[in-house]
Structures are given as C-alpha cells and as structure tokens.
C-alpha cells in the first residue's frame, strides 16, 4: 500500500542542528577539508553565507515490490539553479532525533531518489542535506515515518496474467485434444527436414556431424530447445552410425548434452556406439569458443553443421567458416539480429518460433504437436489485440493500451 506522509519535527531538528553547528565549526577550524569529507551524517555544517536548503521532501512506499524500497522526491535548493550546489545527501534514521545514517550522495539537479536498502515494515525518517565545497546544509525538517510494505500482486501485470492464463489454457486444451486423437496438421518445415538430409550426406561421405546448441547457459530457453533437438539428431546419427561432435560452452548444458546424446543412442537401440568424447566442454568465453569450434571445422571437416540455439557475434564467424569447408549447414535461432547472417551463410535456417517447434515436429508426439496449435491460437488473439488497440487509439480511447502496459 502506498504511503505519502510528511511529518515535520522542527523542534528536535533545530536542537540537533545547533549542536551540530558547534561541533563542526570546531572541526572546520582544525582541518576544514577533512572535517567536511568525514562529517558524520547527524551533523550539519553551516557557514555565514548560508546555502539555501532543499525543501518539500515527500516520501512514499514503492508499489509492487517486496517492501524493500521507499521513493523520495524534493524541491531543489534555490541555489541549485545558479550553480552554487554540488549535490544532495540523503540521510536516514529510525528516529526523528537520529542518529542519522548517510544513505547516498546525489549530484546537483537531482530531485528524486529511491532508497532500496530499507527493511520492510520498519519506520524511517529522512532528511535531504544540500552541500557544496564549503557547506553542508540539512533541510529544516525531517520527513516520516515512512514504511515499506510488500504487496501480494503486482498491479502492473494484470494483462500479462490474463495472457498467460489464456495461452496456457489454449496449449493444455489442444494437448488434450491431440491426445484424444485429433492430431493437428503441422506444415512442413524444410529446415527441420534438411537435418536428416544433412546427416545422410555426412554418412555417405564417411564424415562426422557437428552440432552446436548455442552459446548461452541453460537459463536461456533457446539452449533448452537446442538440447531437445540434439536428442533427435543423436538418434539419427546413431541410426546411420555417423559420429557426432557437440562442443558446449557452459557446464550445465554440457552435462545435459551428454544425457541427450546418450538418450539418442539408447532410443536408437545402439547404446554401445555412444562415444563419451563426442560431447566436449569448451569454454564460456565467446571468442575462445569460436576459435575451438572453427578449429574442429577445419581439422575434422564434418560434413554437416547444425546450429540450434542462441547466437551472437560468433554466428557469422562459425557459419562462414563452415561454408568455406563445404559442409551442409542448418541453423535455427530466435535472436533476430543474427538471422540474416545464418540466412546468408547456411543452406537452411529455422526462423524464430520454428526453433521451438522443431522438437514437436521431429518427435511427432501428439502432446507436443498440440502445444504448437495452442501457440497459433494465441497468435491470432495477439493480432486481434493489435487491431483492436489500433482502432481504440485512433478513436482516442487509451484504456486498453494503458492496461496492456506492464511494469
């Protein structure tokens, strides 16, 4: 729940200010520069030609969080606009009389701050001190108590929740429908069909297949998709008795890739042909990985290169090197900015969602195929939402667009 309070405690503030002035003036006489740099947060430095303090400090609990932040706003010192202010200190205390803890220092011109270091359900008091090279002037009053509380639902994500429920509903419905015998039609995807062709060609040439499941860790869903396709590819290489090499960047995908290749050989009925050296951990470093993989391409000359997953700058380095070796190349990625490179350098490219559809397409499993149909229905809904949004915006009705905005 948002709070917006401003509770002045001028009396105690002035007493503290007076005591602070005495102690700091003594310190300044001893070593002015040092005293300013090391001034504790509950002291104030005021010189004769006083700097005008910041004013109007307001605080509020930040919405839609776990109760770990408070937002502050204030009016800049009048001296800020004429360049006399160096910045502002944000001071915090659990009691209006202090002791004050300095939370942060901000540049001149800044009039808002979010304190993300508070404890939830704890009362805090704040003050803003204005400073320049010779003075630190606290505001005449403190603001508080302010309390950060946590919320049970993020109000800015209603539209995402509705979309997620609808999407999951579609997918689950079509999975159940496919399982009951109504298997949906899936169009041919030439890029996926080409995988078997590429492996067949490698078999004819007596050379290996190189499979690259992207360069990111397992928390990237494209890596998961790439590894799921790997099992089907391994099944085919096992069937054709063709060696496969899988260089991997991160350790967790490496262990999963080992399982996938083993599973492929097992499901093809040839577990004894599995080569434990076929899956290799290389390095998470992008260009060191490129050096290793291009080395494999040039030394071992695999006849087929399959790139499935998340790729960045290395996409063209790998695909062009692969092209120069004459290998048949199939790529798939959802990283839009890398697609043109793959389209140019590879024989077949899976674009965006085709990468995620590949495992369903290859397995033919009704449940997986059903999930594709669910995604198609969601796309229709998104297209309708875009059209409705365009019409409403044109008519000057902004409610739908506002509701779709997320935090």
């Amino acid at each position: 729940m948002a709070m917006m309070r401003r509770a002045p405690h001028c009396g105690t503030g002035l007493i503290a200010l007076g005591l602070g002035v005495v102690s700091i003036v003594i310190a300044l006489f001893a070593n002015p520069a040092l005293a300013l740099a090391q001034a504790p947060a509950d002291t104030a430095v005021v010189a004769a030609a006083s700097l005008a303090p910041a004013s109007g400090l307001l605080g509020t609990d930040v919405d839609n969080d776990a109760g770990r932040s408070l937002a502050l706003t204030w009016k800049a010192s009048p001296d800020d606009s004429v360049g006399k202010v160096v910045g502002y200190y944000v001071d915090r205390a659990e009691d209006p009389t202090g002791p004050w803890q300095r939370v942060d220092s901000l540049a001149a011109g800044v009039t808002a701050y979010t304190d993300q270091s508070v404890r939830r359900n704890t009362d805090y008091f704040y003050r803003i001190s204005t400073y320049n090279l010779t003075q630190v002037v606290p505001a005449g009053s403190v603001t508080g108590p302010l309390r950060a509380t946590s919320q049970w639902f993020n109000n800015g994500r209603y539209s995402v929740l509705v979309g997620t429920i609808l999407f999951f509903g579609f997918v689950l419905y079509f999975m159940a429908s496919a399982q009951s015998g109504k298997k949906p039609f899936v169009r041919r995807i030439p890029g996926i069909d080409a995988i078997e062709e590429a492996i067949g060609r490698a078999t004819e040439m007596g050379r290996s297949v190189l499979y690259i499941p992207g360069i990111l860790d397992i928390d990237e869903i494209q890596t998961v998709a790439g590894l799921v396709i790997l099992e089907n590819v391994a099944k085919l290489t096992a069937k054709y008795e063709t060696p496969i090499t899988v260089p991997v960047t991160y350790p967790i995908p490496f262990t999963i890739a080992e399982e996938m290749v083993k599973a492929g050989y097992l499901h093809a009925g040839k577990p004894d042909q599995y080569d434990p050296n076929s899956v290799r951990f290389i390095t998470p470093e992008q260009f060191a990985y490129v050096a290793a993989v291009t080395g494999i391409m040039l030394r071992d000359k695999p006849a087929a290169h399959i790139f499935m997953g998340a790729f960045y700058a290395e996409s063209l380095l790998l695909a062009e090197t692969g092209f120069s070796t004459g290998a048949i190349q199939v790529a798939g990625t959802a990283n839009v900015h890398q697609l043109p490179f793959f389209v140019v350098a590879c024989d077949y490219t899976l674009i965006g969602e085709e990468l995620f559809a590949a495992s369903a397409y290859l397995s033919g499993d009704p449940k997986r195929v059903g999930s594709l149909k669910g995604a198609d229905y969601m796309k229709i809904l998104i297209i309708l939402s875009v059209l409705v949004g365009c019409v409403l915006e044109t008519m000057g009705i902004h409610g739908f667009t506002k509701w779709m905005e997320t935090q």
């Binding site: 946590s150 967790i252 996938m260 380095l317 965006g352 995620f356 999930s371």
Partner: protein
Amino acid sequence: MKRELPLLMTAVIGLFMILSFFVPHQWVSVPADFLQATAIVVVAFGYVLGGANVLRINLDAISKRSPDWQYKILLVVSLLITVGVGALDGIAHDGGFLNQGTRSKWIYDTIYSPMSATLFSLLAFFIASAAFRAFRIRTVEAGLLAVAALIVMLGRVPVGDKFTGFLPDALHLSVMQDWIMNFPQNAAKRAILIGAALGVMATGLRVILGIERSYLSGED
C-alpha cells in the same frame, strides 16, 4: 522414482517461478531469489565436471598422439597455469584475482583480451564475403534485398543525401532508409519476436508439465 521426483521438482519450482513474476510479496520473492542463487552454486560445481572433461579429452588425445596433439599440450599447460595463477592470486588478494596488478589480470590484459579482439575483428572480413553472396541478384526477392540494403547503407552516410539532395524530401536516401528501418523491418522483426516469445512459453510449459523430459536421462 528416478524420473518422477525430478519431474515433480521441475513442475513445482517452474510454477513457483512463474508465480514469483506476479507476486512480489516476500513469502514468494525471497524463496525465488534463493532458488536463483542456488543455481549459481550448482553451476560452480558444473565447472569441475567441465574442467575434468577438457583434461580427459585432451590428455587422451596426447597419449594417443592424435593429429595436432602438440597443440593439446599447449592447451592443457595454459589451462593449468591460468587456473593455478588465478588460485594463488585469489588467495593473495582475498578473492580479487582480477584486481589491478595481479598476474591473472596481466594474463587477461596481455594474452586473452588481444586474442579475443583479433578473432572478433575477423568478423569484418566475414561480413564482406557473406554480403557478396547475399547481394547477388538471382531472384526477385534477392533483388529487393539488394535494393533495400543499398538504400539503407547509403542513407546512413552523408554522401547518400548528396546524391538525392535535388529530389523532394520524401525521396532523400536518409528519409527512405528511416522508413525501411522503422516500418517494414520493425514489423517483420516484431512478428518474429512475438512468435519466438510464444515458442519460449510453449517450450517452458512443456518442460514444466514434464512433456519435454528427455533431458533427465535416457532411461524410461
């Protein structure tokens, strides 16, 4: 049980992480943060397996005198030196093995970083060779691609507007390239992104529901 327990854990944790996107309360956000931190610890152990794999494969190739085995000696020695120096620097600098003045920092700055930059710079030549193939006009689509690319490339440099300065504003190359980038290009890109995002959600749901389960093991 060997498969059911991991599937149950995947489903429960997956649904919990989806819930944490909508519920910011500490009863949900704190365990969700903990789970993400746990993943980092698991990854750290994974590096031991990865390092062991690198050593096993390369030492095996050295012992069998496989082709180019001499390079594998270099790789193993470099790996051991880098790890050893990093460990010693870490002990000496309280974990800050890449602090200024450490030997690891020297290795990074003088060996790794230049080699990485060298490899990255090769991209310019690869782009040139790929562009040469892409812009060969053999079909109508390839012709459209070449024309669009020409407009965008020329429209982004000052000389482009010099060529078209005498034409109406709408036909200036800089205006035309802006239009290509903002409308057809953006529309196509967003369509791919929406499709990919739904694919991500569908794949995630299949993993949570245990439909994509082959990552667990090869045994049914």
